[in-house]
């Protein structure tokens, strides 16, 4: 009651100095620009240190052939990492990667010219596995958003479902090998100095970075991860975007299944094994927050490169492969502790 009278009466007494509020503070602005660069700089620094150490340990490390080798190895985790990053940006998680890869890999090899015989379906051999990945991704997204089952559980189930589809398709016959050398050699083939599969991965990273940065869909994904309730309250089609992102992740896993099969020259239902627990640490080391809303595919790119260089360098330095998972694990622990250390607080919640 009091406020009504005063506002309808002598409102002129309230003066707001808009200039004071809107004046951009130049030092704050500068801090803003550098705030986002801090972590990538630390990552690149770590990468440089690793490269220096490994070059000193083994002269074969810093060669063009080994660079091509590293990039060839890093490409699949990068492709999967793009999907994983998008899903993590909206605050969810996709564990179904390995299952979807298995399903699409087995579908691909059985539809191509392979040692089991059968018909070579040509272009359909590429389309069907990707569609399969897309469908599994769409199922992830729809069950997650419509039935409100946490994404962790839906995608855990879909992991087994994808693996199950692969097992059924695979049957009990002999290991199918691709018989077309053009297919098996495509990924590692050098074009303009770098392997084909890396060009594909790099193009994907650039496109998805631009999409996240400049499109309405990309910005909405960040907003959903940051605060889903506010995003919904602002009229964003939250459900639609979430399903779209799971579809993209599923399709990329499908592509990764095909590429992994081409790299291996054949496939079994275990083709995707190990990729999930290689990609997720890379995403986190890159600095994408598991809570959603913060991070990006360029960071994931750096994270994957860092872990791949580490593994490659350790092998060349003669370290037993038994220690490898410990070192990547320790780096992951150090990276997250370093990232969280400055933000510690008695009332802060970390899940």
């Amino acid at each position: 009651m009091m406020t009504t009278t005063s506002s309808s009466g002598t409102a002129a007494s309230v003066t707001i100095d808009t200039g004071e509020i809107l004046t951009p503070n130049s030092s704050a602005k500068r801090r803003n620009i550098f705030a986002g660069i801090g972590e990538p700089v630390a990552l690149i620094g770590a990468l440089v240190v690793l490269i220096a150490i490994f070059s000193a340990l083994n002269p074969r490390f810093a060669t063009l052939t080994n660079l091509q080798n590293v990039l060839n190895q890093a490409s699949l985790p990068i492709i999967i990492g793009v999907g994983a990053t998008l899903v993590i940006l909206i605050g969810s998680i996709d564990l179904s990667v390995e299952g979807v890869m298995a399903a699409s890999g087995v579908a691909f090899v059985l539809m191509s010219a392979n040692s089991r015989g059968g018909q070579d379906m040509g272009i359909a051999a590429f389309i069907v596995p990707v569609v399969l990945g897309t469908v599994l991704g769409a199922l992830n997204g729809l069950i997650y958003t419509l039935l409100k089952v946490p994404s962790f559980i839906v995608t855990l189930g879909m992991w087994f479902i994808g693996f199950g589809i692969a097992t059924i398709l695979y049957g009990t016959d002999a290991y199918p090998e691709l018989t077309d050398d053009n297919l098996t050699n495509w990924a590692a083939k050098i074009n303009l100095g770098l392997p084909n599969v890396f060009w594909l991965a790099a193009a994907l990273v650039v496109v998805s970075a631009l999409v996240i940065r400049f499109t309405r869909f990309g910005r909405a994904a960040l907003a959903i991860g940051n605060n889903e309730d506010i995003a919904r309250a602002n009229g964003m089609p939250v459900r639609k975007h979430k399903v779209t992102i799971f579809i993209i992740a599923g399709a990329l896993s499908g592509v990764a299944g095909i590429l992994a099969t081409m790299q291996m020259g054949g496939t079994s239902n275990h083709i995707g094994e190990g990729y999930l627990f290689l990609t997720l640490p890379a995403v986190v080391i890159g600095g994408t927050s598991l809570a959603g809303g913060k991070g990006g595919v360029l960071r994931t790119f750096l994270g994957v490169i860092l872990l791949t260089v580490l593994n490659n360098g350790l092998v060349l330095a003669g370290v037993s492969p038994n220690y490898q998972s410990a070192l990547s694990g320790a780096i992951l622990v150090v990276a997250i502790v370093a990232a969280a250390w400055s933000q510690r607080g008695r009332l802060r919640i970390a899940k």
Binding site: G91, I153, G157, T167, F277, V333
Partner: protein, 336 residues
């Protein structure tokens, strides 16, 4: 003016009544859902394959559920405080390997030593999560790698056989009460103790409070950091118990062998047993049925005459369907 107020009050009352009924139904379903689902699945299998019960089906299900149950109980404690432990199955394997190596020289002290060690491994996880305030998913993903490597290095990447004193633990697998092997009975006893602990003790209630609303718990003087360390230590301890059951069953341990694939079944069993993945909801007694359901699925698909290759597919569908059926939803909550 007064009329409007009256109708408003009536409709609210009706709404609360409906809400109350609905809430009661949800609560009841939450309490018995995992049991009902297991019983239905078990009954279907028993009716369709008459040889299942006579042919020792119960013993097979219970003995394969035992390690899953122990790992799942530890996982449920961590899920209950709103975190996750991806490293517990790796701790199981490492614990089993350590036990296989020490059982000969140390004898009866060996299980004790191993249990203390695995509890400390869990405590390290908890200390880092509580005091460095890092996301538990990422941290335990990292320690998973470290424990895996430790298992490989300690065992020399081969199978380690128990060279003496195996009978100290073997009775857990061979002994049985009412067709149920002692390993499973051990799991049930741990579950009952865990239920009493959660329901009737201050730290137990504090853990659930942390999982429901950590800020609220902190303001209510709940020692959230200490409780996180306790939850992770319990996860390590129970993972170690699972390691002991593996040695009891196999008499050997290897980094790639029995137990190395317990992580996902353990999480699935905890969740199918009604544990909330976002924290604050856990009933250890229901986790028993979660573990039994998870263990029954592969056995049931075989018993029902499905092709073994369909096992994974059925497994995935069952996880999603069971969780979709038992999940408590609220309209406003954000699902991640």
């Amino acid at each position: 003016m007064s009329t409007t107020v009256a109708t408003g009050a009536v409709s609210t009352e009706k709404a609360t009544k409906d809400g109350l009924l609905q809430r009661r139904a949800t609560k009841l379903w939450q309490a018995v859902g995992p049991l009902v689902i297991f019983v239905i699945m078990f009954a279907v299998v028993a009716i369709l394959t008459p040889t299942f019960i006579g042919g020792g089906g119960v013993t097979i299900v219970a003995s394969s559920a035992a390690p899953i149950l122990l790992v799942a109980l530890g996982q449920a404690f961590v899920l209950n405080i709103g975190s996750i432990d991806l490293s517990n199955a790796a701790i199981t394997v490492l614990g089993a390997i350590l036990l296989a190596m020490t059982l000969g020289p140390l004898g009866a002290v060996a299980p004790l030593v191993v249990l203390i060690m695995v509890t400390l491994f869990g405590a390290v996880n908890g200390l880092i999560v509580a005091f460095a305030q890092v996301p538990s998913f990422a941290l335990t993903l990292g320690t998973l790698g470290i424990f895996q490597a430790a298992a490989l290095v300690v065992s020399g990447a081969t199978t380690v056989y128990v060279d003496a004193n195996l009978d100290l633990v073997a009775w857990l697998y061979t002994g049985a009460i009412a067709m149920l092997p002692m390993t499973f009975i051990l799991g049930v006893v741990v579950a009952v103790v865990a239920w009493l602990f959660l329901r009737f003790t201050r730290p137990g209630q504090g853990m659930t409070a942390v999982g429901k609303n950590e800020s609220g718990a902190i303001f209510s003087a709940v020692r959230n950091r200490g409780l996180k360390v306790v939850a992770y230590s319990l996860s390590g301890f129970m993972a170690g118990l699972a390691g002991i059951t593996i040695i009891a069953q196999a008499g050997s341990a290897s980094p790639m062998g029995l137990g190395s694939d317990l992580l996902l079944p353990g999480i699935a069993a905890a969740i199918v047993g009604g544990t909330s993945i976002s924290g604050g909801v856990m009933n250890p007694l229901n986790v028993i049925f979660g573990a039994l359901t998870v263990a029954l699925v592969p056995i049931a698909t075989t018993a029902l005459g499905f092709d073994p290759s369909t096992q994974n597919l059925v497994y995935g569908v069952v996880i999603i369907v069971v969780v979709a059926l038992t999940l408590t939803r609220s309209r406003s909550a954000t699902v991640k």
